[in-house]
Symmetry: D2
Subunit: 159 residues, 4 copies
């Protein structure tokens, strides 16, 4: 419990933009060497910024992500939201690749145009076993959110 | 409201396995000609059975769907659950490809082994504007559910 | 993990209706002596049946639960769904009153008439730390579900 | 669609704190005269502030809301989150009491202390048929969120 309070303190107030447990460069290197499959689900993405408990991720537009009506598929936004949340968890606990999603809930708000998507994730809670966060997804350059995600990750116990 | 009751009656009781609005063959043909992108998100899939308000879908194992820990990615199961629900909606309302997900919530229950996944979807409600359903996802040949999805689709108004 | 598999086996297949960890009578006695507040949220309820990993709960109609439109409030169905899930958890792990909900998602499907509500809960997964389940809520004597709940409980570690 | 864009514009950017469709005083008067049952579920509450697309609601502490472990019940936070969202919808569309919740998802983040709760709701989308929003719930005077809600309301068609 003491540990929960310490980490939570970094999520709110003055420490909100504290340094991440992994830099952007380290994280991209680890992902490419140990988790290359992430490129299959998301296609071409970039981590624009990462901080303790959060990140901003860009997914580049690819016409294979379209579905009828010339809009991006729901599956695209779910994969993006899940991955942004994964990186937000790693930004706080370091490289623990076996952290897994236990729950994800997404509301699709507007049809995204055929453009890059920007996902901004932030943790709402970081406990010893569970992390909970939310992700706002926008089309690049637009104010309105296209989808909103909340998600829970289970953090494996280190032995 | 009269219409809602009529369609709902088919979802429960004696009519539960009523004939779908589209046969399996028609649906596969339409998907391949008008929605070929569905193959990108899901890879190789097959509709095993379809009935009014539900379907059973098989997603063939593909090692590109793996993530660290030799398990299938959450994104895979979300895309599968969303697509199974989409087919369940079409099974009841016919070919209305612009039906869109408004909400999806998934609980990941167990790590799926590296095997085919089977998704079984059924509608819980079919209104004029909204359809709500649930999807149970199992690994092929296993009893335990690996993920459970609930989802809402918005049905476009026909003019 | 071994423990998870053992308990999960009881949730599916031949053992599905195995004996609960607490009988109906024991549970009602414990609730009334140690958790009398449950009567405030739910009003007059009864446990109709309880088995390993599930239960059927009746909430008696009370006009104070109505909201505009002569229907039962969403808050009523959420409280009922949460409590039914709580009892399903206790039916499997015994009297551990500090088990707490971490997530609840509810879809409201139809307006319930001014009548008793029946909630049937069943666990989809029982791990050491988390239990996940679903609850179907019906109006007494009606086939159509009025609401569907999925929920996750956190099980406190016994020391 | 034109209408959707107009109302959405008020939810973001410079118009974020635009005037509500109903003042706090009008809303409290309407609730007490036409929806007195809201007092049953929530007990003693107050609307602290209301603006176009959002509100801040206070629920006064009442020991009947406690559950084992001296914490406030999940049912209390769900009812509060649902009601805050209801008022956020009314703040944008005016007095349409038959607006109903279609989906609510809540993450319980921390055990709330025995104190007043503050719920702050804001709409993420306001369409003609559906409104989607989120609610942050805090204990009075504390920074950490105790629960986070996302919810969808169905807006009845005016004839």
């Amino acid at each position: 419990m003491a540990d929960t309070k310490r980490t939570d303190a970094k999520l709110t107030g003055v420490l909100e933009m504290a340094a991440p447990a992994l830099t952007r460069k380290e994280l991209l290197k680890r992902l490419d060497s140990e988790f290359p499959e992430s490129r299959h689900a998301l296609g071409d993405y970039d981590i624009e910024e990462i901080w303790y408990g959060g990140c901003r991720l860009r997914q580049r537009y690819d016409k294979r992500l379209l579905r009828p009506g010339s809009t991006l598929s729901g599956a695209t936004m779910m994969a993006l939201g899940d991955f942004a949340m994964y990186l937000a968890v790693l930004s706080a606990i370091g490289w623990v690749p076996l952290a897994v999603t236990t729950n994800l809930s997404i509301n699709f708000l507007r049809k995204p145009p055929a453009r890059d998507l920007i996902a901004e994730a932030r943790l709402l809670k970081l406990g010893k076993q569970l992390a909970v966060g939310e992700v706002a997804i926008h089309a690049d350059g637009a104010d309105d959110m296209v989808a909103h995600v909340t998600s829970t990750y289970s953090i494996p116990t280190v032995k």
